[in-house]
């Protein structure tokens, strides 16, 4: 039973979510005694492609085509579907990043495959093929049974560990065929949120809410985030009034995140906010109201004024960083 993994790259570089998907696919193949192939679309160096072997890929199908340098859902889905046919893959693993979300459904339809949109673990059973995912914006979990012959797993980033061992993957160049319809949409421009760690990939997130009173007070939030190598986030009202950009808004109507550590400063912990952050592994809440609902969802809490606590925390983190 062979497993195919879409090894996504960003401007020619792989990221942690790519390695998670390969580690996940390799574990599935190991359990079933099958081969592990990664498909790479775009210009990635041979060295980086071979290195996918460290995470369990045996072979890399490398698709290079100038028309594919920017993500195009239909064309990428064509490439992935043809690669899976070539490998007779029974399971296709796609990290559920923004691009992954864009191609997974199209691949599933082409392969007539059932899709787990946002898996958070390995299958709990392989017959029937059952995988757990979140539902109701993190307020529930559901077991999805995929009954089709070919299966697509959209793996939630940050939910499976990266496994490494010695290994080097072989590289095979692969030339899928495309139709004109594959290129009916084109990428015109990308606007990067400069220099910052993308929220969905961050291990640590420092987030703040209306308790900070105004945008001029975010300096300490950014400083703490920088010290911890964290991304910054905010609650909805803060983005709504323009104190922070919309792409930082987490929650039910914003981004859903699951970092290792989420530090919430001056956020009350409304149910819609919790929906987006409740899968964080460790939650720290700093709030001056001991009745704030967020404390009920937290692992560690400090009841105090953010304007006193956060500067102290910055000093303590500095001390810690210089000692470690």
């Amino acid at each position: 039973m062979s497993v195919l993994i879409f090894a996504e790259n960003w401007d020619g570089k792989f990221k942690k979510s790519t390695y998670e998907a390969i580690s996940y696919g390799a574990e599935l193949a190991k359990q079933a005694g099958g081969s592990v192939t990664a498909v790479v679309v775009g210009n990635v160096s041979d060295e980086d492609m071979k290195a996918l072997g460290k995470y369990g890929a045996q072979k890399v199908l490398s698709v290079k085509n100038d028309k594919l340098n920017a993500m195009n859902p239909s064309a990428y889905a064509s490439a992935i579907a043809q690669a899976s046919q070539k490998e007779s893959a029974k399971i296709i693993v796609i990290s559920y990043t923004y691009s992954g979300r864009s191609v997974a459904g199209r691949v599933a339809v082409r392969m007539k495959a059932g899709l787990v949109a946002g898996a958070t673990a390995l299958p709990s059973s392989t017959s029937p093929f059952t995988i757990r995912k979140k539902c109701f914006s993190g307020k529930g979990l559901t077991d999805v049974v995929v009954s089709s012959d070919v299966k697509v797993v959209g793996l939630t980033p940050n939910s499976y560990k990266v496994n490494t061992a010695d290994g080097s993957a072989s590289i095979e160049s692969f030339t899928p065929t495309f139709s004109d319809a594959d290129f009916a949409s084109t990428s015109k421009e990308t606007k990067k949120t400069s220099g910052k760690i993308p929220l969905t990939e961050a291990d640590i997130v420092v987030s703040a809410g209306r308790g900070l009173k105004g945008p001029e007070n975010w300096g300490m939030v950014e400083q703490l985030a920088e010290l911890l190598g964290a991304a910054t986030a905010c609650s909805k009202p803060v983005a709504d009034v323009g104190w922070r950009p919309h792409h930082e808004h987490v929650g039910q109507t914003g981004i859903t995140i699951g970092p290792n550590l989420y530090i919430a400063i001056g956020i009350s912990g409304a149910i819609q906010h919790l929906a987006g952050v409740s899968s964080s592994k460790v939650i720290v809440v700093i709030n001056n109201d001991k009745e704030a609902p967020f404390f009920k969802a937290a692992n560690y809490g400090i009841c105090g004024d953010a304007f006193e606590v956060v500067p102290k925390l910055i000093e303590e983190v500095k001390k810690f960083k210089s000692a470690h």
């Binding site: 691009s99 990428s187 560690y300 809490g301 983190v317």
Partner: protein, 245 residues
């Protein structure tokens, strides 16, 4: 220009989510259902575009008769007519398949959905619909403008935004930013009652996946409170106990 907006109903965002004792289904007793917030954004943008470009806005829902109150709400917000495909939605493929069957017959220029429904959070209906209809599709779109037969969209990507250009017809999933949802006015509510709502029966479709069991996330343990005058203790615990830094 013909717009089609796909809508679904979901539990109100303040709902405490519980499941039936056998864990096989969502416990809908006493729950208030609303139009999926992202679908409302899609609907509003379609109405705004119709106001400048002319045309019609049709809403479509895959669901049983209970969804008609929310379909009428979409008509009250301003859609011209509605189609309900009379069946219980099972997975994204099933929903996309049913909509594609109807949409292929009627021919639309622009098909919009929400970026995801806030109950199953799959976000796959727009992409599957695009694939089933052989049309380009854009997921998580924060902007949409139409100029002649070309649409310009902005979509979220990892670490930024991307501007995408596509020929009409196309499918897109709406994200916050595309429009500010509208509240129905009195006139809208009055006229909604008499706007056409057509019920069609579903087409035969393979079942590829299904949700067989539901559970609530494990409750967090007790929150450890730390003295605000001893913030160093937090750093220490995050390192030694939580192993988070």
């Amino acid at each position: 220009m013909k717009f089609l907006v796909c809508i679904t109903q979901v539990p109100d965002t303040t709902t405490k989510i519980t499941f039936t004792p056998d864990k096989k289904a969502f416990n809908a007793a006493g729950v208030q259902f609303i139009i999926n917030p992202y679908d409302e954004i899609a609907l509003t943008r379609a109405l705004e575009l119709k106001e400048t470009l002319g045309g019609t806005v049709t809403v479509i829902n895959v669901g049983q008769a209970v969804t008609e109150a929310n379909i009428r709400k979409a008509l009250a917000i301003g859609a011209d007519d509605a189609i309900r495909i009379n069946t219980e939605p099972t997975d994204a493929y099933y929903v996309a398949f049913q909509i594609a069957e109807v949409a292929k017959k009627n021919g639309y220029d622009v098909i919009l959905t929400g970026k995801e429904s806030i109950d199953y959070n799959g976000g796959q209906v727009p992409m599957m619909l695009g694939e089933l209809m052989g049309l380009p599709s854009v997921s998580v779109a924060t902007k949409l403008d139409i100029n002649g037969t070309v649409a310009t969209l902005e979509r979220e990507i990892d670490g930024g935004k991307e501007v995408v250009e596509t020929k009409l017809p196309f499918v897109a999933g709406a994200q916050k930013g595309m429009a500010e949802p509208r509240i129905p006015n009195m006139r809208g509510i009055m006229t909604a009652r008499t706007k056409p709502l057509t019920v069609v029966e579903p087409a035969a479709c393979d079942l590829l996946s299904s949700s067989v069991l539901f559970d609530s996330p494990a409750a967090k343990g007790e929150c450890k409170m730390i003295d605000p005058n001893n913030v160093g203790e937090l750093v220490n615990l995050l390192h030694t106990e939580a192993k988070a830094i």
